[in-house]
Subunit: 337 residues, 2 copies
Amino acid sequence: MQNNKRFILASRPEGMPDETHLHLEEVPVQEPGEGEIALKTLYLSLDPYMRGRMNAGASYAKSLEIGDVMTGEAVSEVTSSNVAGFAKGDLVIGRTGWQTHSVATPDLLYKIDPALAPASAWLGVIGMPGFTAYVGLREFGKPKAGETVVVSAASGAVGQVVGQIAKMHGCRVVGVAGADDKCEYVVKNYGFDICVNYKDDDFEDKLKAACPKGIDVYFENVGGKVFEGVMKLINDFARVPVCGRIAHYNQTKLPEGPDRLIPFMGQILIKRLMFRGFIQSDHLELLPDFRRDMSQWLKEGKVKYQEDVVEGFDNALTAFQGLLQGRNRGKLVIKVA
Amino acid sequence: MQNNKRFILASRPEGMPDETHLHLEEVPVQEPGEGEIALKTLYLSLDPYMRGRMNAGASYAKSLEIGDVMTGEAVSEVTSSNVAGFAKGDLVIGRTGWQTHSVATPDLLYKIDPALAPASAWLGVIGMPGFTAYVGLREFGKPKAGETVVVSAASGAVGQVVGQIAKMHGCRVVGVAGADDKCEYVVKNYGFDICVNYKDDDFEDKLKAACPKGIDVYFENVGGKVFEGVMKLINDFARVPVCGRIAHYNQTKLPEGPDRLIPFMGQILIKRLMFRGFIQSDHLELLPDFRRDMSQWLKEGKVKYQEDVVEGFDNALTAFQGLLQGRNRGKLVIKVA
């Protein structure tokens, strides 16, 4: 009988998670009960939000309990099914976690159509990260032709899609990333107008030069010094969809003063800025629109994407650490089987 | 010949403005030229935003230059007119400044109908402050029946209207003010469900008890400890129209740390909060709707209001200092003539 490999939350990290927090263990593969479907994981998605789930205390969703399988979306193949409409060999996506095999009820699964996009893309460009980009721009960024849109984590799973959709709206698109090759990639492959490396000493000067008419939309994925640089260039009536704050996910204590919250609120007032935190799962009513639009864009070549595929389930933790440090190139997925 | 008394910005204050910053002077009354209208001020409006205009550097509007007449809206009577449609005795509102007489072109004036509301009310409940309340709730607060709306500066010119409109939407309305008699007033006269004095030592406990289901809309007029207390009770998907930050207008340096901006942005993300700074003058397309609705509400007694009328133009500076310290009761106006 085959075993199921899985990563378990063994203890809560402060700072970067490692082997003391995530234990790799093997248990027998579970048989599906009545109304259940047995799955073999093909691709596991690794995403920055997962770091938040490891903390105690509520975030968007309930945090993980100690002993839980690490949370995550995956593309799986049905190996046996006790549910009509799901047959051996079907491909599904679902929040089945960091494990090589799983058993799920059909309400938690979505059957994907590999004719529209390859299996792994359903975790990226046409999956949750692509949908995040779509929701954030459409509902909150609302870019208008001629405006300047700044995209942090520009080469990441969300950022690459944000930039390409903003280009379709006729915007000047300025990427920010943490490596020169990432910057080159988004300009060459996704049509970003320019991209700035936030690790450069003169980052703020470069960002200013890249945004001669200021910033109208800032798609916030990272926080930290990118956020600070953007706020110095932000225009009246700018919109800031707040999607992620990866620079702060491993932060363990409040930074020292002065307390910038008060001048920040003053800036919101005087410049009539709009800040809105969001998560794609609050907007599932837009999912059919997104799948229709994105499959069309992919077919027409209007949206391209890059995946960083790591082979082997056992490498998931190392790959996740790399993600939190910006070592991936494009959407990070683990090829499990 | 009559003199025009006026207050001039003599120097820029740091902290509370006084006689060294605003000089009272007398100059001959100006005659109207071609296309101009001569006015005698009846009521001068005093509003917190004026403090910002005294600083160097752009706020919403251009700041005042040294030597300028202090900015402000007033209700005036036409004393002579070289413009068709404006006759001696007509009442107008306009941004004519802190002076007893002025000369203006008709594009800067709006003829008021004293049959709809008394002259002074055109500076308050049916004027700019009332419109501010209307715009902020309608466009950004979007209160829904059953939600909890917290209104800071609850008894002020804006807050009193915010609370009454929110009640019409079927909300639980919680006021916050800086004096027990202000709190009693808004509950007794405007139908606020409850009002909490932020100067009480146990303010945060009282606010929590007043908001058993948390806070869905916070109409931000003040900043400071009210803002801090609210943020501890704010619900997922809350909306915060940022209208003013009076607690900080006289602040001269950044407060000490820790730097709360980073956890604040985390809260925006996790709770999917919406913050939006606004000023009524960006939304003048709503002014006809507002005047129609508000004159109807006043007629039906659905909206009530309180004015703090100070007699005598010379008292404008002292009254303005009182406004910045919360000493007024209701909308502050100077009865000039």
